[in-house]
Symmetry: C2
Subunit: 350 residues, 2 copies
């Protein structure tokens, strides 16, 4: 048991391990068989010869994951589906359906609800998925959302699991990691009016309305171009660390290759190092991919075709598992802290 | 729009209707097809020729659905799965797997967590089901739990939908409706030590550790013995009202047939009418069944074999939809208020 016996000492990942251990059971052999249970972006349950069912759930809690002072209900509704669909995409699947659990203080307005639902509907328009049901409750505290998402993984696709990286694989990221964290910092500092600033806007939108590259990840899986993947929810180093740990490999991140240039004018104004945002900022919902060298060109071509920015930022090698940062003129080093962890981190997420 | 534009005026059922309307979409024809979406105990998605997937989700919120002052973590863990499995049972299916979203204040102890998980595991031992994954977060307020449950409905079973009741069907209930509400009232009045009282104990346990009749409901569906079913979560009259409304029938409840005798010594001591508990008390997680006359004997025999108390309490007839109470020597009447509704009810649930 941790020092003071509290969840603060156990931490989020200790808690997840405890849940996994406490509830481990064999699945029934007569129905779906569980190919992957707790511990990846989504569970994988074999359905038929045609494909598998992906299952994932995500909490969005006022005061932890969002702040109504600067998050409009429309983008919150969009985000509630996007962050779940991101987990489906990070396994190589495509969105199919969801249930919504919604606990709201009773003083919330119908107008707020309608705007929230219109944001969910906007996500459905972009990525067709069916609302299967849900539960509603009043909340004695703030707003509390929980979406459970079901996705489809075609039998001919290669599952993008966290434990599939191979020595020599290159590490690729989509988008500009740290964009969302920069956007959140801009919102906190300047309030919603910062959206009117043309330079700030893309970062604020990356935070408010994340757009996981769902068509791209589905095609990566269909073409078998990656050995492993994860979405960036807690930060590049931390999420990459999950692949390294589960694949039992050492990840080398080349700091100079990480696309931080775009973050810089705004991050400098805020007095934040762009590389800190890129390494530890969470909620980007881009992908980290582990790609064998012979597939690099095809992944880049796919990115160009689908308008998804793809950057090669490092490689996996045999060695003690972990994430090492490579900086010109220095020996590779590990970061003490590379992302957000619930219970341990007392500030708001991320 | 409701008078003051708040969710209080809209009410829980208005909110659900708004969600259903706002998020209505055709499901993809190429994967699972949705046989039933929002509006029943669980969604029904056709999987294969062998059967369908049931999907349901339930929130359990501290201060709304439970009070840690008198609910031990073990029974809360058990209940979190039982209330979801109850929805699967009320469709005629059997439990298969679940995801757990858990938001806890960081001051919670590891001991609390372990006891909570042991309660979930106790449910899994009674009704095998696999933990597929989940999400964890710190909570800025109280504890929030959300379980999404997947169940299996065999293709040879008759779906127990809410809209299937037929004129002339008898209304049957399992267990003693109101037991859970009585148990909650005893707990609130006397605290957890009331469990030491032998007369109080069964009611308190009905509240703390509900046991939906899952084997019974599965056999009812397999044998095709009922036309409709719902589980009693919000109260007998309110939940029966859902069947009446969706089947477009009038339900007559014979007050004298409702098994309230067992509630009486304890309810009298508390100064509560036993019939009020039976009609409006929620969280029993027994079943309301709509059974054709020719199947009554077989349902009763099944109840005896499985040790499930079954009482005939009324009938469905053609007429304006609604629930009418029949009391000897009075004309049938409707209750103003027959159960719990989120947002409208300001006291704790139920």
């Amino acid at each position: 048991m941790a020092a003071d016996g509290s969840l603060r000492a156990l931490g989020e990942f200790g808690l997840i391990a405890r849940v996994k251990e406490g509830l481990a059971r064999e699945s029934s052999k007569t129905f779906l068989s569980v190919l992957r249970g707790i511990g990846d972006d989504a569970a994988v349950c074999k359905l038929t010869e045609e494909g598998s069912l992906l299952v994932t759930t995500d909490l969005l809690i006022e005061g932890v994951h969002f702040d109504l002072a600067y998050e409009p209900p429309e983008t919150l509704g969009f985000k509630a589906l996007a962050v779940n669909a991101s987990d489906v995409g990070a396994m190589g699947g495509e969105p199919w359906g969801f249930v919504l659990a919604l606990a709201l203080p009773s003083g919330f307005s119908e107008d707020w609800l309608d705007r929230f639902l219109s944001g969910m509907a906007a996500f459905q328009d972009a990525h067709p998925c069916v609302a299967l049901g849900g539960d509603t409750s009043k909340s004695p505290g703030g707003a509390f959302l929980c979406v459970t998402f079901l996705g489809r993984l075609s039998a001919s696709s290669k599952l993008l699991a966290r434990d599939g990286a191979r020595p020599g694989d290159r590490i690729l990221v989509t988008g500009i990691p740290g964009s969302s964290a920069l956007g959140l910092n801009l919102l906190r500092r300047f309030g919603p009016s910062v959206l009117e600033n043309q330079e700030a806007r893309p970062f604020v939108e990356a935070y408010l309305k994340p757009r996981p590259p769902l068509v791209f990840s589905k095609e990566i899986a269909q073409k078998g171009l990656a050995n492993a993947a994860i979405d960036i929810s807690d930060g590049l180093v931390q999420d990459l660390g999950h692949i390294a740990r589960l694949s039992n490999l050492r990840a080398f991140l080349e700091l100079e290759s990480i696309p931080v240039g775009g973050l810089e004018p705004m991050s400098r104004m805020l007095g934040i190092e762009a590389s800190d945002l890129a390494l530890a900022g969470g909620e980007d919902y881009g992908l980290i991919l582990s790609v064998p060298a012979h597939s690099l060109n095809e992944v880049q071509r796919l990115g160009k075709r689908l308008n998804v920015a793809v950057h090669e930022v490092g490689r996996f090698e045999i060695g003690e598992q972990g994430v090492y940062i490579c900086k010109e003129g220095q020996a590779p080093f590990m970061l003490k802290k590379g992302g957000y962890e619930h219970f341990r981190d007392e500030s708001a997420h991320p």
